[in-house]
Amino acid sequence: MAGTIAADTLTHSSAGSIATNFVVEGSAKVWERHNASHVLNSSFNVSSITDNGTGDTTVTYSNALSAATQIIGGSAGNDDSNECIIVSNSRAASTTTTHRYVVGDTGGTYRDRAVNATLVHGDLA
């Protein structure tokens, strides 16, 4: 049987203390990276991604969040291309199990990039 520790605080001998709610609440609940073909390269708590069109992706979570007010960060880029990128998560409203985002260049054209990555912070259900 695996061991279990129930504690409110973790204290390191030299690095200080941290309340365990910071560990739980401060950990990313979802992260993913996919390529230009919308194939997942690596992920955590992601059940699938959906290709909605060029540069347009929906990420679906394995374990749901408690509210659809998650914080989403991301970046995208290409293989040494001079075309720049913009990441937006405003294409569609997030839900407790999904977020949707688009990647585009500075001219406003959606792009499928070699590297597309997002991460999510918030509370799990």
Binding site: A2, G3, I5, A6, A7, D8, T9, L10, T11, H12, S13, S14, S17, V23, V24, E25, S27, A28, K29, W31, E32, R33, N41, S42, S43, F44, N45, N63, A64, S66, G73, G74, S75, A76, G77, N78, D79, D80, C84, I85, I86, V87, T106, G107, A114, V115, A117, T118, L119, D123, L124, A125
Partner: protein, 141 residues
């Protein structure tokens, strides 16, 4: 209030796997997977990027205007880790047009230990931004 005083947490069944219970109590998730494996906040507005705060970053290099290399101290186990970041303007709080900044990956990541190059940009021109943040998530070696 309970408190654990320790320098190291190690999984019992598997050393690299410690589960934590979710905020709502409905799920358990792996602690290690949710932790940022590196992050950095740097200021490049002087033309030379200067780290303000970082974790698991050994050095920061100036590749060119608006292009920065971040060297990770402890290697990832693969080259498919996830990066996120943002950059904002030089002494401005602008939101659109020429004052709109972003931070993207400029090079496809091909190494678990070396530089992954980020870029900040505005209006299709690379810029040395005032405030640049980047974080990485994935598996460490």
């Amino acid at each position: 209030m309970s408190e654990v005083i320790t320098d190291k947490l190690t999984g019992k069944t598997a050393a690299g796997n410690i589960d934590v219970t979710s905020e709502g109590g409905a799920a358990t998730m792996q602690l290690q997977q949710g932790l940022a494996k590196h992050f950095i906040n740097f200021d490049a507005s002087s033309g030379t990027p200067t780290s303000q705060d970082s974790f698991n970053v050994s050095s920061l290099t100036d590749s060119a205007t608006g292009k920065f290399g971040i060297n990770v101290a402890n290697n990832y186990s693969n080259v498919t880790y996830s990066l996120a970041g943002y950059a904002c303007g030089i002494n401005t709080n602008g939101f659109s047009g020429s004052q709109s900044y972003g931070l993207g990956v400029n090079l496809e990541i091909t190494t678990t230990s070396g530089t992954h190059e980020l870029l900040s940009f505005a209006a299709s021109a690379y810029r040395d931004s005032k405030h640049c943040d980047a974080q990485g998530f994935g598996d460490l070696a």
